[in-house]
């Protein structure tokens, strides 16, 4: 592939087009990474798989450019950019409307369905985006000190950082994912037609693009497009409201007069669930003599408050992270506010740490920790903070599971890890098997005679009473569960999220697959890495891999400590992208040998990553969230710089030099490594080894790649296909 030299103007256009490409790609990726899991099954595994599919397809598109380089690239690029703008909103519409054709209504399908759907759905966009990168890069002029591809990487990253910053930081929660795609499409349509001269983009094409862009704007802001398109996701129900919040897509529905609130398609609350509310409150409060103040973590507020006041509780503090939820669940607000309810919109972890108030009981009212975001409400560290907020004899109630008659292996391990986390701070832990299974923890003695205790306290109930709860049978069941728990299971911890790992495994076994099955997606990747130029590609793949694992580790650490990942994910991505842009833009001297320089960069990376755990510890023990946030961003930026430096060094050696030029192959290897790293990091390395060890593994990968670069050099060593 010879870069056509058309002078400065085409180079300028090329860089603008690359910014557009980065912008559109990152925005679309962010939206689809949220929407595909939300439409099918929302957990880190499906997010990881979607990301892997994304990167693989983009890598494939990039590799395709090598095979099918257009004869007149400058003529077709504007049209490809137009397609890049039009495709995302169309594909998102297809995602929603085909939902019930691909999987039965109301079901969460298995991983294979999700993988296949993501593959087919994302293919047009990702292949196109991947194809465009080396094509546009070929327009950038080589200079003495920087390679065209290196600068292309910088422009693309800058565009990505800008896109993510604008849409997921400033506009998050203001406009929906669908509107974001339409707006991005509109920008692409208008900018790309005016970027190129008349002889390339004729008048008729400009007119059509402008009309289409205007139509996008109209659809985005004059029609309730979200509610219209998302209807199939809530079969049979009247979709009253959809709100795209930084913490997931909220949907409020009415079905035969019954209201329900869904978050990312999963039932979050039913306002009228007396049995559930009674379980949340009474198993715990029955254990406390005259409780006065209670803290509730999570939702379904009115019911829980109504039950709590039956004990004479005077104040109920409810802490909820998502500001959009309380207005939807507190339907008869006045009543409960007058009963002493206070809603705090805050991260529960921080609320508990920073609020000096003491409580008689803390009631966790959340779903199982199937995500990293939920896992942090079930860790040893959180339980320890709660312990510090409880009065003498105070209790903590944690629901762990829907009531079942048998616990499978992973479920047992998950319950064991949460029980161990509780035992680290509390003297007693009681298993209460109801409709849901609860763990009640306290330093005081705990009892199974819950109905008698409630009767004594004069609390009347419809469900938690003698009619349903036989203390002798409950004790028998609890003993059964207790005897099946695994003593060797480590406590669930912030930096060692075993509960989340085990719930993921349980979910995989529910769909009949072992946890390692998704690795099959990565089988084609070695083929991309090994076919030609093996050493540089392996080096780039390793850098992509390490960058992604480290980024995942940083993200999950951020989530464990600060907990505002949904809101701030964009900032973290943007920080990494800024690092990439800076690293790629730095000048590269050609005078010195690439191999040793590359090895040195790898070594720097290895040392940096190995040192990161100290930063994590400093962040954890720090009291200033702003400082913690800044440190985490710094980690992301530095890692971005290192990965981009490696890319720049490798392509510097391999571009513009006839047959050895391999920008697309190296770019594909980077993406392939990143895809593998993002997935393996999220699903295996971090949950299984914990954050600290994940850093050491990543450091090892970088060090090994450095040794490879040093030992073999980049040239004349790989197998040429």
């Amino acid at each position: 592939m010879q870069p056509p030299r058309e002078g400065e103007r085409s180079g300028g256009r090329g860089s603008t087009a690359l910014v557009l490409l980065g912008f559109s790609t990152l925005v679309t990726q962010t939206v689809f990474l949220r929407e595909i899991p939300a439409v099918y099954t929302s957990n880190e595994l499906t997010i990881g798989c979607t990301l892997a599919v994304w990167m693989t397809l983009t890598g494939a598109g990039s590799a395709l450019e090598r095979k099918a380089h257009p004869r007149n690239p400058h003529r077709c690029i504007p049209f490809l950019l137009l397609a890049l703008g039009v495709l995302p909103p169309l594909l998102l519409a297809v995602l929603f409307t085909t939902r019930n054709v691909i999987a039965a209504p109301g079901t969460s399908p298995g991983l294979l369905t999700i993988l296949l759907t993501a593959g087919v759905l994302l293919a047009p966009f990702c292949l196109l985006a991947g194809y465009l990168f080396p094509l546009l890069a070929s327009f950038l002029n080589e200079s003495k000190r920087t390679s065209g591809a290196g600068r292309a990487y910088a422009w693309e990253s800058a565009g990505g950082a800008a896109g993510v910053a604008i849409f997921t930081v400033f506009l998050a929660g203001v406009i929906s994912g669908y509107q974001i795609l339409l707006l991005t499409g509109c920008v692409l349509l208008t900018v790309s037609v005016f970027l190129y001269p008349r002889d390339v983009v004729p008048l008729w094409a400009r007119v059509i693009a402008i009309i289409a862009g205007t139509a996008f704007l109209f659809v985005a802001f004059c029609i309730d497009i979200d509610r219209f398109l998302r209807r199939p996701l809530f079969p049979g129900q009247e979709l009253v409201l959809v709100r795209d919040t930084p913490y997931g897509v909220l949907a409020s529905t009415i079905f035969s007069g019954q209201r329900a609130l869904f978050v990312d398609g999963l039932l979050y609350a039913v306002p009228d669930d007396p049995a559930g509310d009674e379980e949340t409150v009474h198993y715990a409060l029955a254990q406390v003599r005259r409780p006065r103040e209670v803290l509730v973590v999570g939702s379904n507020l009115p019911g829980v408050v109504r039950e709590a006041v039956k004990h004479g509780v005077r104040r109920v503090d409810c802490v909820e992270i998502n500001p959009a939820i309380p207005p939807l669940t507190v339907v008869d607000g006045k009543g409960v506010f007058s009963q002493g309810m206070h809603i705090h919109i805050a991260d529960p972890r921080r609320f508990v740490r920073e609020n000096a108030h003491r409580y008689d009981a803390v009631l966790v009212n959340l779903p199982e920790p199937t995500t990293a975001a939920l896992n942090r409400m079930f860790t040893r560290e959180f339980f320890s903070d709660i312990h510090g907020r409880l009065r003498d004899g105070g209790v903590l109630s944690v629901p762990v599971l829907d009531g079942v008659d048998y616990l499978g292996e992973d479920t047992r391990a998950y319950v064991s890890s949460v029980a161990a986390a509780l035992r680290a701070s509390f003297r007693n832990v009681l298993i209460v098997p109801g409709n849901r299974i609860f763990l009640i923890a306290s330093d005081a003695e705990l009892h199974y005679e819950i109905p008698a205790l409630l009767e004594e306290a004069g609390v009347e109930t419809v469900f938690v009473n003698r009619a349903y709860f036989d203390p002798a049978l409950a004790r028998e069941r609890a003993d059964d569960i207790a005897s099946s728990l695994r003593r060797e299971e480590p406590p669930n911890a912030d930096f060692r999220p075993t509960a989340y790992y085990r719930t993921l495994r349980a979910w995989m076994s529910s769909i009949g697959l072992p946890l390692w099955a998704p690795l099959v997606v990565f089988l084609p990747l070695p083929a991309i890495l090994f076919r030609r130029n093996a050493v540089p590609r392996i080096c780039m793949g390793a850098a992509g891999f390490a960058g992604a694992v480290f980024q995942v580790t940083v993200i999950l650490t951020f989530q464990a400590i600060l907990g505002s990942l949904h809101r701030d994910l964009g900032v973290l991505f943007a920080a990494f992208m800024v690092g990439l842009a800076v690293g790629a833009a730095l000048r590269t001297s050609v005078a010195r040998k690439t191999g040793p320089r590359l090895a040195a960069t790898f070594a720097t990376g290895a040392v940096f990553v190995a040192a990161a755990p100290w930063v994590f510890e400093a962040i954890r023990s720090g009291t200033q969230p702003a400082v913690s946030f800044a440190l985490i961003l710094m980690l992301s930026v530095v890692m971005g710089v290192i990965v981009a430096r490696i890319f720049a060094l490798i392509v510097r050696e391999f571009s513009g030099a006839g047959e050895t030029e391999d920008v697309s192959g190296i770019y594909a290897a980077d993406l392939a490594g990143a895809a593998t790293g993002a997935f393996i990091g999220t699903v295996y390395i971090v949950p299984l080894l914990g954050m600290m060890s994940a850093c050491y593994v990543t450091s090892g990968v970088l060090a090994a790649a450095g040794v490879l670069a040093l030992a073999c050099g980049l040239r004349g060593t790989g197998t040429r296909g």
Partner: protein, 383 residues
């Protein structure tokens, strides 16, 4: 580069890895497959909890199981769809014999059985495996696994009976997963229980062929059968089940005098078609099943069917009304604590004759099987 493997070796290595991973992947995939699956290499079949299966015959492939309408045709080493029957050298074995994974004592009302020995306890057991694939299975961790994969106790039929007596249970319930799948274990335990005067209760999906059903029914006292829908196509989609077989099961159980109650789970958008519910109730009445208590129970999002709302109470009440209109005499609403439809009202005089709260009886106005108000006989087994 000195340290590199020759290209050919690398390719071979990759092919080897791909083949290995692919093979293992496919093998694991088949765990969820609706087709007979391979039990793996079992040169030595040294499974302690095995018993030669009843109801099978030799086939060209190996053996053909005749116990349920799946009619699995199994080659040597293969396992049936229910995951607990295996062909070893041309003999079909149940591998769920004496190894239950769930053993609990439950109030009989929890099954639910409302007209059978009220306020007694049932010694409840389950072994792993099920012949259906319900999207909303509550106990999927038992039903969708083989006894080889679950954590089991050892409790042979006589042990079950002994423990049931120790726990002062009036009955043994075969429940939680699918007792007709661990058929031989259910049958032998039921025979042993009969001998000791303990009653036998079957909580089943009713997906069993007529001959094995009749044999089992000869030692059963009561059954609660899940009738999942009255639409054959929905039955297939929801559970991979067979409506006609379940309907036949209801008829057979009634005809041989087993006390029968029916559970119908009302799942929003799946099984809440009120016209179908009306046809189902009319069918029950036409087949002489009007006296069989019918429980409409509330659905909660579960397992794979987790993106739906719970059943609105109004839907359950409407279904109950439809059933009464069709002529079903005893219709209950389940899973809604404190609902008045937990009580029993005399079909003749309409008075409340059993007041229930959850699994307990608050008051009972049935004397010698008759309504205390109007003396109408109340169908059921009351003592």
């Amino acid at each position: 580069m000195s340290g590199h493997l020759p290209a050919m070796n690398k390719r071979e290595f990759l092919r080897f890895c791909a083949a290995g991973v692919g093979y293992a992947f496919l093998r694991d995939m088949t765990k969820a497959s609706p087709f007979p699956v391979n039990a793996g290499s079992r040169e030595e079949f040294d499974w302690k909890w095995k018993k030669e299966a009843l109801f099978y015959r030799k086939s060209a492939r190996g053996v053909k199981c005749l116990k349920c309408p799946n009619f699995c045709d199994l080659a040597d080493g293969e396992t049936g769809k229910c995951r607990n029957r295996e062909n070893h050298g041309g003999t079909l074995y149940s591998i769920a014999y004496g190894n239950p994974c769930a053993v609990h004592v439950d109030p009989i009302e929890k099954k639910p059985l409302f007209h059978f020995l009220p306020a007694t306890r049932a010694f409840s057991i389950a072994a792993a495996g099920c012949n259906l694939r319900c999207l909303n299975c509550q106990n999927w961790q038992i039903s969708q696994f083989s006894p080889r994969e679950t954590r089991n106790e050892e409790l042979f039929p006589d042990d079950v009976v002994r423990e049931a007596r120790q726990e002062k249970c009036a009955s043994i319930a075969y429940t939680y997963s699918e007792p007709t799948s661990f058929y031989e274990y259910t049958l032998d335990t039921a025979v042993a229980a009969r001998r000791k005067g303990i009653r036998n209760i079957l909580k089943s999906n009713g997906t069993i062929n007529e001959e094995p059903l009749r044999r089992l029914a000869s030692v059963l006292d009561a059954a609660n059968i899940d009738l999942k829908t009255f639409d054959a196509a929905v039955y297939k989609k929801l559970s991979e089940g067979f409506l006609s077989t379940v309907l036949r099961t209801l008829e057979v159980l009634k005809s041989v005098g087993v006390w029968l109650e029916i559970t119908y789970l009302v799942i929003p958008t799946w099984t809440d078609d009120f016209e179908k519910i009306r046809s189902m109730c009319s069918w029950l009445v036409a087949k002489g099943l009007a006296d069989c208590p019918l429980h409409f129970t509330r659905f909660m999002p579960l397992y794979k069917l987790n993106r739906l709302p719970p059943t609105p109470v109004g839907s359950l009440e409407r279904a109950r009304k439809i059933a009464f209109e069709a002529g079903v005499r005893y219709v209950y609403v389940g899973n809604v604590p404190g609902h008045e439809a937990e009580n029993t009202y005399c079909h003749a005089c309409g008075k409340k004759i059993v007041e229930r709260r959850g699994f307990t009886i608050v008051s009972m106005r049935i004397e010698k099987g008759k309504c205390a108000f109007c003396s109408a006989p109340i169908p059921g087994v009351w003592s």
